[in-house]
Symmetry: C2
């Protein structure tokens, strides 16, 4: 039986894909703000999408929002598909806009920010089997991990 | 040393990404037509993009062109990012347009066609380690593989 399919829609509005919303305040340390995640393919259930060793997710950051400042062993392949914003990669921050491709190398601290007055939406591909992100405390020593954040509530943040 | 980076550009026009073009006639059986491939991340060299068990490619099919009709064990995660066209999935053919997501399940015959008078551009993610596609001969019995096409010249076609 074929399980191939087309999931119709647009950025943040795919048929049958329920977004998971994170809002400022869900996390006591306010490590992220106004981020929505849509898991599109490869949800980690062997029965759902066979033949994919990775997950395809879509994140949308509302204007003024940002993702966790974090790092991990696994890499990210990101493609911006909506709006403009910025990405912090290590010590550098660079502007990004639609169809820019971002590679986040293992262990590099990173954060996506919708700092340009509009929403920032991006696809993010990660290996299905991967380590948990470590949230970095900006107020601590440069590049240090927040001791209380080694097991964040959600391992799917970009 | 950080190797994270932003690859700037748009569909089919990324900085430093050289497209590989396939034209009608390169393949004696005309199994595909007017397809361009851009390998964006995870080229299979361990030194290039660590931490990614997959490859991120972009394919663009010129108006009137189409990809090989093929099948394989590995799955595809596809996101349309430019234009409109159609995808054949098994026995069905469905129209697709920007930001539709397509899952191609293992062993399902598939083909992408730019049949709507405009180019069709899409991102396609596959496992880095995967089997070779088998090109299907439409003139043969339904779903049968073309005997001469079990080792296509290029394993990266969508």
């Amino acid at each position: 039986m074929s399980r191939s399919r087309v999931i119709r829609g647009g950025a943040g509005d795919w048929t049958g894909i329920e977004p998971r919303r994170y809002r400022h305040g869900e996390d006591g340390l306010a490590r992220f703000r106004d981020v929505t995640r849509h898991t599109l393919l490869g949800v980690g259930q062997a029965s759902s999408e066979a033949g994919l060793g990775f997950e395809l997710r879509y994140f949308e950051v509302a204007p003024g929002g940002y993702s966790s400042l974090e790092r991990h062993e696994h890499g990210h392949a990101v493609v911006i598909v909506k709006g403009r914003g910025a990405v912090r990669l290590g010590e550098a921050t660079e502007p990004v806009s639609a169809l820019d491709v971002v590679y986040v190398a293992p262990h590099d601290v990173h954060r996506f920010s919708a700092d340009a007055g509009e929403a920032l939406g991006f696809l993010c591909v990660v290996d299905r089997v991967r380590d948990r992100p470590v949230v970095v405390d900006e107020d601590g020593p440069a590049g240090s991990a927040s001791p209380g954040a080694t097991e964040p509530r959600d391992r799917g943040a970009p």
